[in-house]
């Protein structure tokens, strides 16, 4: 058990052989108690709430599930979450790969600054992201006159909800793909080019297959984050029931209106979707790595 603890192969204090057993016992005690504390902390902090919500969702009963999902509001909320998530995934994946290619392959001055900008969304509170969107497109905003003149509604409508979700999800694909591109180098791509492949062919036949697991993992993280986004979407959406209400906004309203059971049911569904998605990708990724290794 304690084979991996920092123990020298020979007892250090050879002058006192009697203490060997004592040292071993003490080490086992330390080992056991540290492991115990770590497990208890993780269980109390992370597992107990998970058990709590599953209990609450089961206690609500099957008919509550049926009732919840037969509401048009709930269905529309999930539909809206799906649309926002899908758009966000497409935009952040495609443009994320472009940014990653630039960061990894194009040593231009100011790359460090660009890299910092990529990480910026991670440091910004979602509420502030929503606020920025309101400031740009809302009353008195820079772009409001133009969009008004063209009859396009941004705030309190789908476009602003997609925009803020994209902002929040920008880093995930880039941070997964860029390091890998740097590690891979350009040898294979050069070979393909030498053999007469065009830039596009090289990208789709060589580069993309090489980065696909990192890309998929980044997409999974993006999806999980987009599904769960609340702060920014709350600010820009106006929470119009059946119109600009996402699944997370529905949960918030359900608790506000005292329909706790429905809140628990929708929240459990979201949690299950996110966990399944990430663990699925994790398994696929391990399989892919093993295949590559063999």
């Amino acid at each position: 058990m304690s084979a991996r603890t920092a123990a020298p192969p020979v007892a250090p204090n050879a002058t006192a052989p009697r203490s060997d057993a004592a040292i071993l016992r003490r080490r086992r005690l330390i080992h056991g108690s540290l492991t115990g504390i770590a497990l208890v902390y993780a269980a109390v902090l992370l597992i107990a709430p998970l058990a709590g919500i599953i209990w609450a969702a089961i206690k609500a009963g099957g008919h509550a599930w049926v009732e919840t999902f037969s509401q048009p509001d709930v269905r529309h909320a999930f539909y809206l979450t799906l649309i926002i998530t899908a758009t966000t995934v497409v935009v952040t994946a495609v443009l994320g790969v472009v940014v990653a290619l630039m960061l990894a392959r194009d040593p231009f001055p100011g790359r460090a600054l660009v890299s910092a900008f990529v990480d910026l969304p991670l440091a910004v509170s979602p509420v502030i992201v929503g606020l920025a969107c309101v400031l740009m497109f809302g009353t008195g905003g820079w772009f409001k006159p133009w969009f008004d003149a063209h009859g396009i509604q941004i705030i309190f409508a789908l476009p602003s909800m997609v925009l803020v979700t994209i902002f929040i999800c920008i880093p995930f694909v880039i941070r997964e793909v860029a390091p890998l591109l740097g590690e891979l180098g350009t040898e294979e791509e050069e070979a393909a080019r030498t053999l007469g492949a065009s830039s596009l062919q090289t990208f789709f036949k060589v580069t993309l297959p090489n980065i696909r697991w990192a890309l998929l993992y980044g997409i999974a993280l993006t999806t999980a984050r987009a599904i769960g986004e609340i702060g920014a979407v709350l600010v820009v959406s106006g929470q119009i029931t059946g119109h600009t209400e996402t699944a997370t906004l529905f949960i918030l309203r359900a608790f506000d209106e005292g329909r706790d059971a429905q809140g628990y049911i929708v929240a459990t569904t979201l949690a299950l979707v996110s966990v399944l998605l990430l663990s699925g990708i994790e398994i696929l990724k391990h399989r892919g790595e093993r295949k590559l290794a063999s």
Binding site: M1, T5, A6, A7, P8, P12, H31, L34, I37, A38, L39, Y41, L45, L46, A48, L50, G52, I53, A56, V98, L101, L103, A104, A116, L120, P121, A123, V124, S125, P126, V127, I128, L131, A132, L163, I166, I170, P171, P179, E183, G185, T186, E187, E190, L221, A224, G228, E229, I230, G231, I251, L252, D260, A267, T268, L270, S274, V275, L278, S279
Partner: protein, 303 residues
Amino acid sequence: MATRTGSLDAPPRPPLPRLDPGAGGGAAPRPRRRPPWGRWGLRATALLYLAVMVALPIVAVLTRGFGNGFGALKDAFAAPGAWKAVELTLVLAALTAVINGVFGTLIAYVLVRYRFPGRAALSTIVDIPFAIPTLVTGVMLRALYGPASPVGSFLERHGVHVIFAPAGILLALLFVTLPLVVRTVQPVMLELDRSEEEAAHVLGAGRIRTARSVVLPHLRPPIAAGMLLVFARAIGEFGAVVIVSGNIIGKTLTAPVFIFGLISQFKPEQAAAVASLLFGLSFVLVLVTERLVARRPAKEPEE
């Protein structure tokens, strides 16, 4: 090996090389004579994307918040509970950083150094907060500690208030930020040279002395980086907090929820001013963190 795990929401994987082509050979000059249309196109697309999607919104917040000097900021802090909200947020974020700094490091240590039944499970459990939507975290805590659950009513009977109290906010922040410390410290611990510890041991240093003078100096930067990340994330957390805090002005109202309140009251300038403060603080913390994480490889060259 440099890692990029030192940022908020770091991916739940151990070490990643930096966004730096450097050793990867990506920067090798390509002997071609074609005009670099592709490169310029790539550059323009990438920079435009980041400028429009990231830089512009930030500029919008800063200019609106401080367009009329510090007037908006003063007005915002004249509101009842404004200072309290900022104070509560900073105190809770600091507490979260300290508690998760200790337990996150402990979990990383146990994961790296010990083999025990349940180790794989612990490693998976630590990543749960990355997958669970933050609002759902709040809902989970409400389900467990709310008055409707046996645990919640038991605690309530004994005078412990979790939901709609600072304790609930603290639990939510602890939940959301735990992986940040574990995944920042773990890769460094994996790379530690065991023979240094053994040498100290052979030379007669006790376990505590070995830990203090051999192990800790290596671990200080990643632990500090992890804690700063936790702090930065905790300052801005909204989803997990909003549903457990009850948002009682002067008692459980946090700064992000306060900003949200200002927006709902159609005071965008004041909201932008407070947001700029909050944002500035967390951005500085993230920059410091990147320094802390990046400094490490210079001291320990790879084998």
